[in-house]
């Protein structure tokens, strides 16, 4: 593997979900906006106008992958140091966040597992849920040093139904969260090459759209 290929594998951004199941489409939708932002940043860095404001720092090279099945994540994590995963979250019980709320959770090698809700139906709509896929990766020695999960609380997951207004409104917030994590990585790498930034405890918190 070339140095460039290894750099590309170092950071993985994943959107999980089924585009045809209402709010489960949030992962692919957020990845679309993140891809747009990455392209704009790359263009902006190359085309800085004379005398214009300083361009925003380029984001680090990364792979963007949309997965309908969280189990595929186990393969994608191989060789990865930082994974940012966007997925729909089913929040249940007293104190559950409102649909459209954006949550940020962290795990990774040497870190505790993601908190799994006692009701497994709150784990998502996939056969092998995201927490299970990550723990399988850990058991196989493929857990990245750092995993950030950007979760968007879903309202509905019915087959064929459109995305709810609340979750649609959360797409920019979730996408900016991903871009912010990448920017933090780039800044930390510039200041202290090879020394990753301090990692997220979990849960980090809720960001209102």
């Amino acid at each position: 593997m070339s140095r460039a290929e290894a750099d590309d594998r170092r950071i993985l951004v994943v959107g999980i979900g089924n585009p045809d199941r209402a709010d489960d489409a949030i992962g692919p939708a957020v990845l679309g906006l993140v891809a747009e932002q990455l392209a704009l940043r790359a263009l902006g860095a190359r085309a800085r106008p004379a005398g214009g404001s300083a361009p925003r720092a380029p984001l680090p090279p990364c792979r963007l992958v949309v997965l309908p099945d969280p189990m595929r994540l186990v393969d994608e994590l191989d060789g990865c140091e930082l994974a940012i995963v966007v997925d729909a979250v089913v929040a249940a019980g007293p104190g559950a966040q409102q649909p459209g709320a954006v949550l940020l959770l962290g795990t990774g090698q040497g870190q505790p597992a993601l908190p799994v809700a006692p009701d497994p139906t709150a784990g998502g709509t996939h056969g092998l849920g995201l927490p299970a896929a990550l723990e399988l990766a850990r058991a196989l020695g493929r857990m990245p040093d750092r995993v950030a999960v950007v979760g968007v609380v879903a309202q509905q997951l019915a087959p064929g139904a459109p995305m709810s207004a609340q979750v649609r409104a959360a797409i920019p917030t979730a996408a900016m969260q991903v871009v912010g994590l990448l920017a933090t990585e780039a800044a930390a790498d510039a200041l202290h090459p090879g020394d990753p930034p301090p990692w997220l405890p979990h849960p980090v918190g809720t960001l209102d759209p």
Partner: protein, 431 residues
């Protein structure tokens, strides 16, 4: 004097595809009530399809299931092509068979090694099993990946393929891309063969069930991507177009899924039925695996279905390699399919069993009626019968052990309960 009823409830069964529940009531040593409660999105899809173009079912119905989209696509294609009086050329049938092999490889590798095997080896799930059997889980992921890659090359992507259309494919795969799959498929075959001794030496509960077996005929080899007729273990041969004459779906109060019955009796579709009806059509390598695994020419024990799936996994890998080796391209990627006012029927063998589609279209190609009968709905009465047998044979077990036995029995069927929703609630309650 009768004893107090014993009600068993398990709210959630893991490692199955679908959402539903089960309720068992035991009284006087008998399971007086066994209900498998499931939700079934295909019912909604039948509604979505009315008023749509006759060219749309392959893409729309593929969305019913993330595990077996190819099955939905090809059953839909066959039914529409039947209505329009078209049979695709042999090369395209073979390409369909190749894509279908990818789906079987992916689905069977997942079920055998990640969903069913943890029960046999005494683990809660694949994660716990991976701690002690890392190499086995790694090999399962390799096999699944081989199926995914095959689906990507032939189908355009590994889940919900986009290359399938009524009449054939949107484009033919490059022969070099097909040949490039060979090392991965060969390695997957080695992985599958290496697992045979481990599975062969496990202890399987004794349970012989007398279900009527139903599968497609073996006109094109071991039943898979097409078939003209259904065959049964009672010796019947029924044209696919007569599916509705023999198989009638009933609504039951405890389930959203309609339950199928064949001439009024419960029946079973899927690996056990295919294997027992068509052992002779398996490849020699697959037959040798069956022998090494301790299987006879038929199998009536649902707990041993993991061995049958392993045999079918080997068969699918062997067939995929053979089709790739012989592939010499096709003159066209698809043949024209003009609409006409008619009804068409199509059936293929999804990993979990027979999947039937029926469409009625008008002269302009608008769909007037659609019917989709997935395998798990057909198997529901047989699964309930097996659960009853498991409960009554294990009444001495405490609640926890009996519950686990029930969960294991359900998982042997690899139920794709909703083909889109993903959890089964199992409730076992003793009173």
């Amino acid at each position: 004097m009768s004893t107090a009823p014993r009600e068993l409830t398990v709210p959630m069964l893991a490692r199955v595809e679908g959402e539903g529940g089960m309720h068992v009531v035991v009284q006087d040593g008998r399971a007086v009530e066994v209900q498998l409660r499931i939700f079934e999105p295909p019912r909604f899809f039948e509604g979505f399809l009315r008023g749509r173009s006759y060219l749309e079912p392959p893409d729309i119905t593929a969305r019913i299931c993330g595990i077996c989209p190819v099955a939905y696509q090809f059953s839909a294609c066959l039914a529409i092509e039947d209505a329009c009086g078209v049979v695709v050329p042999e090369e395209l049938r073979l390409l369909r068979r190749l894509l279908y092999c990818g789906e079987w490889i992916e689905s069977h590798a997942l079920h055998v090694f990640m969903l069913h095997l943890p029960d046999l080896l005494g683990y809660d799930g694949a994660i716990e099993m991976a701690a002690d059997h890392r190499g086995l889980v790694e090999s399962a992921l390799r096999m699944k990946r081989a199926g995914n890659e095959l689906m990507t090359v032939v189908g355009g992507r590994s889940v919900h393929p986009v290359n399938v259309r009524v009449g054939g494919f949107h484009r033919l795969p490059e022969p070099a891309a097909l040949r490039a799959l060979r090392p991965m498929l060969s390695a997957a075959l080695d992985d599958a063969l290496a697992a045979v001794p481990l599975l062969a030496r496990q202890e399987y509960p004794d349970l012989e069930q007398p279900h009527l077996y139903v599968a497609l005929d073996a006109g094109h080899g071991y039943p898979l991507e097409s078939g003209a007729a259904l065959v049964t273990s009672s010796g019947l041969t029924v044209p696919v177009s007569s599916f509705g004459t023999h198989i009638v779906e009933h609504q039951v109060g405890h389930s959203h899924a309609l339950q199928g019955r064949f001439d009024g009796q419960p029946y079973l579709v899927g690996p056990l039925a295919r294997y027992s009806l068509h052992f002779a059509a398996l490849s020699p390598v697959a037959q040798q695996v069956a022998s090494a695994a301790g299987l006879g020419r038929t199998c009536r024990n649902p707990f041993r279905s993991i061995l049958v799936r392993l045999v079918e996994l080997v068969h699918a890998l062997v067939e995929a390699l053979a089709i790739i080796d012989a592939w010499d391209g096709a003159p066209v990627a698809a043949v024209p399919v003009e609409p006409r006012a008619a009804e068409g029927h199509g059936a293929t063998e999804a990993p979990r069993g027979l999947l039937y589609h029926r469409y009625r279209i008008d002269g302009s190609g608008t769909i007037l009626a659609a019917q989709i009968v997935p395998p798990t709905a057909q198997n529901q009465p047989a699964i309930e019968a097996d659960l009853r047998a498991v409960v009554e044979a294990n009444l001495g077990l405490d609640d926890e052990a009996l519950t686990r036995a029930c969960e294991t029995a359900i998982r042997t069927y690899d139920p794709c309960i909703s083909c889109a929703t993903h959890f089964l609630r199992l409730t076992v309650d003793r009173r």
